[in-house]
Amino acid sequence: MTADRTVGVSPEVQRRLYELMTLMKAADDRLSKGIASGELQCVYWPPRGQEAIAAAMGVCLRRDDQLVTNYRGLHDLIGKGVPLVEIYGEMLGRQTGSSRGKGGTMHIANPECGVMLSTGIVGAGPPVAVGLAMAAQRKGLDRVTVASFGDGATNTGSFHEAANMAALWDLPLVLLCQNNQYAEMTPTEHTMKISQVAHRAGGYGLPGVRVDGNDPLAVVAALTEAVDRGRSGGGPTLLECVTFRFRGHYFGDPMAYIPPERLAAALEADPIPRFRSRLRLAGICSEADLDEIEAAAVTAVEEALTAVLTAPGALVDELDRDVYADPRNCPA
């Protein structure tokens, strides 16, 4: 099954997609530069290259729609509207962080924006997303939950159990697989025999769709369909978006395991320049517009970083908070 691309996307939304993508890229670039130079210290799993997917979430999801993402979530978090000061703050252990700095890069949540969970355990997100979708269904809300995960995550038993439950109970859930062709250092073709992750859908009785994850309009079309299905009681969808991670698994990954031709071809398909020219050719944005969008993204990122770097670090007394609702429950 392939998504229908005829859904029209307005010029405003297309522009918004580009704004989001450039913000995600700028946020990644700045963090990468800072870590590389030693200016910033944190663990980081860069999503550079996967922006089209997260930007599509940004325009397809409502604020009250919910998201479960993972360690490679910078782009998803931005797409869902989490303020950069919270994201950077959390990565860098500052009090401006979404968890006041104590959760770290892998564990960012902002329920007000609908970001309920980021998980460091591969595959652990989809079951929780099932529960969030159950909650929405039980409350009679028309919101959807998106569980965002990688290709590798679909090999976990956890994914299987969640997908089966979601299908069984017609939950308003989108199982969004960002297939970036690798799980850590292992290419997807070494970990599954099937040619498409979307083929896994048949084992659960839910629709499986595969799209070019580097084309934001393709993702918007497919995601709109999946979200509408979920919102209207039609149940879950497995949506596979094919993309690539340009910076490897973790920041600093030498990527020795990626054949140079494969990397080159992937870089060639970088969603950002591709969408930029498309916007220009379609007459939606002028060169100047586009430059301005990019510059605005860089400025926003610098402002956020400055705010974070001038904020105090996480307090040591955080150790006494939030283990239990009532701190007296901790053993002496």
Binding site: V68, G97, S98, S99, R100, K102, G103, G104, H107, A109, N110, P111, M116, L117, T119, G120, I121, A124, P126, P127, V128, A129, V130, G131, L132, A133, M134, A135, A136, R138, K139, T145, G157, S158, E161, A162, N164, M165, L168, E318, R321, D322, V323, Y324, A325, D326, R328, N329, C330, P331, A332
Partner: protein, 331 residues
Amino acid sequence: MTMREALNLALDQALAHDERVFLLGEDIADPGASGPTKGLSTKYGTERVLDTPISESAIVGAAIGAAMEGFRPVAEIMIMDFIGIAADQIINNAAKLRFMTGGRTSAPITVRTQVYGGIGTGATHSQSLEAWFMHVPGLKVIVPSTPRDGKGLLTSAIFDDDPCIFVETIRLGPQRGMVPVDPGFSIPLGEADVKRPGSDVTLISYGRGVVEALGAATQLEADGVSAEVLDLRTLVPLDVAAMVESVGRTTRAVVVHDAVQFAGPGAEIAAILQRELFGRLSAPVERVGARFVPNPAPPALESQVYPSAQRIVAAVRRTLGLESAKTGAHG
């Protein structure tokens, strides 16, 4: 009423009085249900008492997600031996969410599970793994021994703001006792209960061990030994004050549990007592736990594995200097 009925009543009243409560698990809905969930789907519908696929990991994960959204899900892991399958969701999501998100999310779930030890089902249907969950900050661990405690503690667990592992014991299911039927009745988590007062030795236990400890106390009485039976009821929070008070008085302690003795809950209890009461004990803290062996299926063998009144009495006699300490670390 029986323990099973008491637990059923707690679930029933929670479902009746709070629409945030729902139950999910394998074979918990009627007409298949036979345990504490029996009758509840008939009364409240299969939306609120929900049969699931055999997917322990997703059962707990789904409970977590719903709990994050304000529900009070009660997930059942049919038998505690299967809890390994859900362990990742329990330890990495439920236990840590509140901390990792600085209090912005939390997972006030209850995981009910049942220990099958002692009924001949063999090594993979008999384990008591509560020590695992004591060791993971963020979880509460509850093991009732009487119908009254079962009802009161389960009610507290369901409405507690933290994730609770609630361990039931199949051998206690038919046990009878007085139970307040008032829906307002609950027992605070973290308060041990003196099930029998005494002055010569404290038998510290929880769950089924309490029954054996009471049996041992009766036998000891005949020998003129006065044993206090302290039922911890919850392992986290652990009522250290009650343990220290009692053992400080009796100066002797024997810890009893169905969990494997080695690296079990009794180890922590002994470690605490030897520190808090250093120089004030008349004998080392003794432990009577399950033998270090996968549980055998035949009753004649299985009965050698779990604590019995006889093994507890022997341990008490060691603390009284009436029996050689060399009769074995396994009580």
